[in-house]
């Protein structure tokens, strides 16, 4: 069980913005004091680079930075050597896609869905252009859900990579990753899972799911910006090329251009990383682990069910994912463009996102170009939901334009 009033005391923004209802955690989460303190301490008491200094605080940072691999490993159940630090989930997915190039050839199929975020589609589109792989889409239902049956229908022996979000970012469809992975592996395909919307909200165990890659961002799970993780199965990482070359990732190089790369994961971390970001992510993971991912998942499910039940009562609201039991609520006020409606909610101090949420081909599935996305995290309350629902009931074209006068 989560004590939400207690948890909220950990987040200084609730004191600094007492009237704000923040329902945009799928975009980025709020930050607890422990994470802010961990990042600040790097600046105030132990600033240094990593893997380069022969002095005490440098050694301290090496231990903190590399030690965070263990924290991540315990969080998603992998080997610390399988944890690559990146700048965000997008960077992780680009590294996975481009890193797999040596293992792919012209005509190989990348199987994905139309509910994916740009970051799990565009890297594959770029490979399509560069080496001639072919992107195919498994069929989804009208709420963005992939059934095991539809996945099997789309799977064939030409498929070499399955690129799929654990939870989709607009409709919150929880995809059947374990079953997908089992079938994909049997067909000889690798599975790249975008965990940006799943890892912050539910227990994710890469061994149990069987995925070959998992990408996620720290900033969506109470951590700092500019920091992400790519988990990769060790034997695959060893066969992969880095996207970036430079400092730290090489063992030695010579004037004729020969480069000897370091072993993974450092091979994939060229240049000075976001050290304070990684240290802050460690604090964030420890914070989430203390609350418990099962508890977070259960509470969010309960809160979402409450939210959905209230929203369903409103005649002026159309909901696009009413049957999904998890994730954001995607909706529109009838006859009002999503950004106008979000503007009205903003005037009531309710923060949501409007638009296509970087999922720009999802409209082919859910039948609308843009939606309002209200997304939850464990620090949201029923009182906040009530305020949002009350404001939603007031959305009309007149009111949406009225905010300008």
């Amino acid at each position: 069980m989560i004590s939400v009033p207690t948890v909220r005391k950990d987040f200084p923004i609730f004191t600094n913005q007492p009237d704000l209802v923040y329902l945009d955690s799928a975009a980025t989460s709020l930050k607890p004091q422990c994470v802010i303190d961990a990042v600040t301490a790097f600046y105030t008491t132990h600033t240094s680079n990593v893997h380069r200094g022969d002095y005490a605080i440098a050694a301290e940072n090496d231990a903190l930075y590399d030690g965070t691999r263990k924290t991540v490993a315990s969080f998603i159940n992998c080997d610390p050597r399988e944890v690559i630090f990146t700048h965000n989930a997008t960077a992780s997915l680009n590294q996975a896609a481009h890193g797999l190039k040596p293992l792919l050839k012209e005509g190989d199929v990348i199987l994905t869905t139309k509910a994916e975020h740009a970051s799990n589609l565009l890297p594959w589109f770029s490979l399509q252009k560069e080496i001639g792989v072919k992107v195919e889409y498994a069929e989804l239902d009208s709420q963005g859900r992939l059934t095991e049956e539809n996945f099997l229908k789309a799977l064939h022996e030409g498929v070499k990579v399955v690129a799929l979000a654990g939870v989709t970012n607009v409709t919150g469809a929880v995809q059947p990753i374990r079953a997908v992975t089992k079938a994909a592996h049997a067909a000889g395909a690798y599975v790249v899972c975008d965990g940006a919307q799943s890892v912050p909200h539910m227990p994710v165990d890469v061994r149990d799911l069987g995925v070959d890659f998992l990408a996620f961002s720290a900033h969506k799970m109470c951590g700092p910006g500019g920091t992400g993780v790519l988990y990769g199965r060790r034997e695959l990482l060893e066969r992969m090329d880095p996207v970036f070359f430079g400092g730290d990732m090489n063992a030695r190089f010579s004037s004729d251009g020969t480069i000897i790369l370091k072993e993974p994961p450092v091979r994939f971390e060229a240049g000075t990383p976001a050290i304070e970001g990684v240290i802050g992510m460690r604090a964030a993971i420890e914070y989430l682990q203390k609350i418990g991912m099962e508890n977070i998942h259960a509470y969010e499910k309960e809160l979402r069910a409450y939210f959905l039940a209230q929203m369903k009562k409103l005649d002026n609201i159309q909901i696009y994912n009413p049957d999904n039991e998890y994730g954001p609520v995607a909706f529109n006020a009838k006859g009002v463009f999503s950004q106008d409606a979000a503007g009205y909610l903003a005037s009531r101090n309710i923060a949501v996102r409007s638009g296509n949420h970087c999922a720009k081909i999802l409209h082919e599935v859910i039948g609308t170009d843009s939606t309002i996305r209200a997304s939850l995290y464990f620090y949201n309350t029923k009182e906040e939901i009530d305020r949002c629902v009350a404001a939603c009931s007031e959305i009309s074209l007149e009111n949406a334009i009225g905010i300008f006068f």
């Binding site: 950004q339 106008d340 296509n356 970087c358 843009s370 074209l397 905010i403």
Partner: protein, 152 residues
């Protein structure tokens, strides 16, 4: 005239104007006529996606048309722009566009020149919506500038 002026100070009237231009946009729908220039505005923001067309010949804006997916502010501001542009000389049109951008940037401006488009006068208060209020106008500004290049 004074009566109209005072009406354009009334928030209720301005709100009605925006609604009206949004629900029944003027000069809406694109043409295949090759004598029109066309600017597709889709790269500035993730949401709005509009195309503005204009026919500028002999130094006069003969016609302006637009279509696309956009919010109330984008749609109505572009609709108002078409009303203000059609029939003006290139120089007059450019002066109106400049005046409009002054208003949007919250600088001194002449409301008489902008007529109904003064309905957009408060958009500067919502910084994230300035893009919406200028998307169609930017397209027009670009086409006016390009039309000048033809004569050189």
């Amino acid at each position: 005239m004074d009566n109209i002026k005072s009406m354009l100070d009334d928030p209720m009237v301005l709100r009605e104007l925006i609604m009206d231009h949004y629900q029944y946009p003027h000069h809406h729908g694109l043409t295949d006529d090759a004598s029109y220039r066309s600017v597709h505005m889709a790269s500035d923001s993730c949401i709005d996606d509009i195309t503005v067309q204009s026919k500028i010949s002999d130094g006069v804006v003969k016609d302006v048309r637009f279509d696309g997916v956009a919010c109330t502010i984008s749609t109505s501001s572009t609709s108002m722009m078409t009303d203000l542009m059609i029939g003006r000389t290139k120089e007059e049109a450019e002066a109106i566009v400049d005046e409009y951008f002054r208003m949007i940037e919250h600088k001194e401006y002449d409301p008489d020149v902008l007529e109904e488009a003064v309905a957009m006068k408060n958009v500067y208060k919502q910084a994230n919506r300035i893009k919406c209020a200028t998307i169609g106008w930017k397209a027009m500004k670009q086409m006016l500038e390009e039309s000048g290049e033809d004569h050189e």
